[in-house]
């Protein structure tokens, strides 16, 4: 842990820049529950999108999911951004006692503006690396005879200061506030008044002006993107159980799936959630659940059933720091082993990983295509850093829905689980189809579907089911991303949300290039071998104590000369930290 602190403290240089050009500005807002820090962030993201700016926002809170200290880190930019940045240019903090809990989350450079409450007697934490003498003070709270009394909404004061520093017109904020609070006129007028008063002070130094380069931008979270991507891919049944950080997938679907003719059930637990999904899929309906690590643990037996009975199901796992309860609101990439290998008796499943919010939506399309076509479970890994981030994106193009599972009809085999048939998958029998009755069973079965305990049949059925993975590996061999120039000498592999930081790291360190699989299992081995041909080693970058991707890759290719650039989650990786991990001199 000390090492992590050390690395983040070293991040003190100048403001960030974006890969491929375009200016960006980082904001850090820190307060307690009730200060409305997240609201400022939300409103500013909406305003930025409306003005044609890109950006992303992550929230951080203490161990409790509701209440307590809270921070919002925003990055606003002229071009698309999928990383929060190494440094904030402005820090607004209502209480230094709250700031103390965001070591590593709040990172400043030597010219960042710091704004504290005039009445706050606290010190800046040492790890921030800045002197209290450089701080600007603003009267956020109203103090009468040494006692704090209710005053103007401090989040609106902060928003007024920041919007002015950004050079945004007050009208943009007025429109956003009216939209948000239009139904509560008293609150609206209070908020407008506070915003205008702070805006008029112009108390903060002006920031470089960001020039809009796009239009038609919207704000979406990773969880929303997964939910909407799934709907566009044909999802018609969802069952889930609340769990941080994936609950918004279910919440979005409760809101949006019924109007598309689908159904949502909030189940009594995760076992039931996947059970319901298995049942609906047995009924021929494209179905999905979403959870986080603890839920995936509970679903594991049911995943085996879906694989054994050849029922297509999609499971989203928004990973959080584990094991057990871990740190529910913090990110990590440690469910990879579970997703690939978890469960008794060894069964085929496919594991995909999302790079960011935009990719998450498109990835759902692939998840349903693979699951439906090959009749097996597909696990989509996101993590808290993608799931709960809000990202400004261009309006998504709805892809045409993928092919659904091939349905049994005239001329098809009478054997539901026929061997040697179309790479493992046999036409699916939808209940209600005359003459198609069969038994879908978790017990080993014959091609007809009758229970068996014949060892030879078990071997042949295992071959039939695992054959699907070989087909899928061929179909998905191009499902990966590359960063950097092709002849860069130093090699990196990353996956999932590390895409964001690697994209910026590689842009700043052109001696590096990176390979990021989108399909983690079956791993695109041949593409990887081609990419690294003639090289001797590299590093696998991941938020996993044991280096799970490194270990997984070692089982499919020679990784003896590759090292691990990994650590536990909690905090996302930063560019500066990666530079230390990879022993690169700062640029």
């Amino acid at each position: 842990m000390n090492e992590v602190e050390l690395r983040t403290a070293r991040a003190m240089t100048g403001p960030d820049s974006l890969p491929g050009g375009g200016a960006c500005i980082g904001l850090a807002l820190v307060g307690s529950g009730g200060d409305g820090v997240a609201l400022i962030g939300d409103l500013m993201m909406q305003m930025a999108a409306r003005q044609g700016l890109f950006g992303m926002m992550v929230q951080a809170y203490g161990p409790q999911i509701r209440g307590g200290e809270s921070a919002a880190i925003l990055r606003l930019s002229e071009t698309e951004t999928v990383y929060e940045g190494d440094h904030a240019d402005i820090l607004v903090c209502f209480r230094t006692s709250d700031l103390a809990r965001f070591r590593g989350t709040v990172r400043l450079h030597e010219r960042s503006t710091i704004v504290l409450d005039q009445a706050d007697p606290g010190r800046l934490p040492d790890w921030l690396g800045r002197d209290i003498a450089e701080v600007l003070r603003f009267p956020f709270s109203r103090v009468v005879e040494g006692v704090e009394v209710p005053g103007e909404p401090r989040n609106m004061l902060a928003m007024g200061l920041v919007c002015r520093a950004l050079g945004w017109s007050a009208e943009v904020a007025h429109a956003a506030l009216s939209q948000r609070f239009g139904h509560r006129p008293t609150v609206l007028s209070q908020n407008l008044a506070a915003f205008d008063r702070a805006y008029a002070t112009g108390a903060l130094p002006e920031l470089p002006v960001l020039t809009p380069r796009a239009s038609g931008l919207t704000v979406e979270s990773g969880n929303e993107a997964c939910a909407r991507g799934a709907m566009a891919a044909g999802l018609r049944f969802f069952a889930g159980y609340p769990i941080t950080p994936s609950s918004e997938v279910m919440e979005t679907l409760i809101e949006e799936l019924p109007e598309r003719g689908g159904r949502v059930i909030q189940a009594e637990d995760e076992i039931a959630a996947l059970g319901m999904v298995v049942g609906a899929s047995f009924g021929g309906v494209p179905s999905m659940t979403a959870t986080s690590g603890p839920g995936l643990s509970l679903m594991t037996e049911m995943l085996g059933l879906a694989s054994m009975a050849e029922l297509p199901v999609v499971v989203i796992d928004a990973q959080r720091a584990g094991p057990a309860t871990g740190m529910p609101s913090r990110t990590e990439q440690r469910d990879l082993f579970h997703a690939i290998y978890g469960g008794h008796g060894d069964f085929p499943r496919v594991v995909l990983a999302a790079f960011d919010v935009v990719h998450a939506r498109d990835l759902m399309h692939r998840a349903f295509a693979i699951s439906e076509e090959h009749q097996l479970p597909v696990i989509v890994l996101t993590d808290a850093y993608i799931a709960q981030r809000r990202q400004i994106r261009t309006t998504p193009d709805d892809l045409p829905p993928p092919r659904r599972r091939r349905v049994w009809g005239e001329g098809d085999t009478m054997l539901r689980f026929a061997l040697n048939h179309e790479h493992g998958a046999t036409p699916f029998r939808v209940p209600g189809t005359p003459g198609g009755t069969y038994l879908a069973a978790g017990i080993e079965h014959t091609p007809q579907g009758s229970p068996t305990s014949d060892g030879t049949m078990h071997q042949r059925m295992s071959e039939k089911r695992f054959e699907k993975l070989e087909t899928i590996a061929l179909e998905t061999s191009a499902c990966f991303r590359m960063l950097g120039v092709p002849d860069a000498p130093r090699l990196l592999v990353g996956w999932g949300s590390t895409f964001g930081v690697l994209r910026e790291f590689v842009a700043q360190h052109p001696e590096f290039r990176a390979f990021l699989p989108e399909v983690i299992h079956p791993f695109p081995r041949e593409s990887f071998e081609e990419w690294r041909a003639g090289t001797h080693g590299g590093a696998v970058v991941e938020l996993s104590y044991q280096g799970q991707l490194h270990q997984h890759m070692s089982s499919v290719c020679d990784m003896t000369r590759w090292t691990r650039a990994c650590r536990s989650g909690g905090l996302p990786l930063s560019v500066a930290e990666l530079a230390v991990m990879l022993e690169v001199s700062p640029c």
């Binding site: 044909g234 018609r236 049944f237 069952a239 003719g261 689908g262 159904r263 059930i265 189940a267 009594e268 637990d269 076992i271 039931a272 959630a273 059970g275 319901m276 999904v277 298995v278 049942g279 609906a280 899929s281 047995f282 009924g283 021929g284 309906v285 179905s287 037996e301 049911m302 085996g304 059933l305 009975a309 029998r429 209940p431 209600g432 189809t433 005359p434 003459g435 198609g436 009755t437 069969y438 038994l439 879908a440 069973a441 978790g442 017990i443 009758s450 229970p451």
Partner: protein, 270 residues
């Protein structure tokens, strides 16, 4: 006109001779004959156990899933495909031990399922361990675990959870079982049927005889729409009343069946 054999596959049951599961299989196919449900519109879902082998013997869209999880699977199927007739079968270990957590939730959702539990008061498939409904005396007589643990009372439990249709039958009384199952399948919400039976292999013949003696049809005076009368019958653990203990009068369903609102599309339709 569909006949009982139209609901059967060619597979021969693996059950022991005199097993109560034969009665459930026969009762179910007879009730389906009465209702003329087309086999391709029928789904029979189970978990794991002796009685959970039953879907394999039914000509239907069947699923023999994993231990204790039949109810969620059936719920998902019925909600996604409301036009199907969905019957869940299982045993007391599957339903009242490992799978009990799902039962009150299936009841409060009131999805139109028929849940038939063959309650023989032990685990037959794993060779005779005590289940949540094994009585203390039997546990003592057979030297089973949990001799001081009280058994569950399934009809009382489901009534207390708000189940709208609760019935009990005996696997050896086919006409009554057939009628109860017919009513249960016709009921438009979640229907629970406890089928009493002894295990032919792991319980003594004297136990089977005593169980049969303790069963009797519900009195003529019983008003099945009266929850307090139903609860009284369910609380009687000396004598097992057979028949419909409770059937909530239409219109009284708490909240109705939320997934089957008139005019709601099926999830399968694009």
């Amino acid at each position: 006109m569909l006949k009982a054999k139209d609901y059967r596959t060619e597979l021969q049951p693996v059950w022991c001779a005199r097993c109560g599961d034969f009665g459930v299989l026969k009762g179910l196919t007879s009730a389906l004959v009465d209702l003329q449900v087309p086999p391709d519109q029928l789904a029979v879902i189970s978990g794991i156990g002796c009685s959970s082998r039953l879907p394999g013997y039914m000509n239907a869209y069947s699923c023999n899933s994993i231990h204790g999880r039949a109810l969620p699977i059936a719920t998902g199927l019925k909600v996604a495909r409301p036009e199907l007739t969905v019957v869940v079968v299982g045993g007391d270990g599957d339903g009242f031990s490992i799978g009990l957590g799902h039962l009150p939730h299936a009841i409060r959702r009131d999805v139109n399922l028929t849940y038939v539990v063959l309650d023989n008061g032990l685990y037959g498939l794993t060779k005779g361990q005590a289940s949540p409904t094994t009585g203390s005396e039997l546990k003592k007589a057979l030297g089973l675990a949990g001799q001081n643990e009280r058994p569950l009372n399934p009809p009382f439990l489901v009534l207390a959870s708000g189940c709208g249709f609760v019935a009990r039958a005996h696997a050896g009384n086919l006409p009554q079982l057939r009628e109860v199952l017919k009513q249960a399948i016709s009921y438009p919400g979640f229907a629970f049927v406890q089928v009493m039976a002894a295990c032919a292999t792991y319980q003594p013949q004297s136990y089977a005889e005593e169980l049969y003696q303790r069963c009797g049809v519900v009195p003529d005076t019983h008003d099945a729409t009266d929850l307090s009368q139903a609860l009284s019958l369910a609380m009687d653990t000396d004598r097992f009343s057979l028949g419909i203990l409770y059937r909530r009068a239409m219109g009284e369903a708490a909240g109705g069946a939320p997934f089957e609102r008139p005019g709601a599309e099926t999830a399968a339709a694009d």
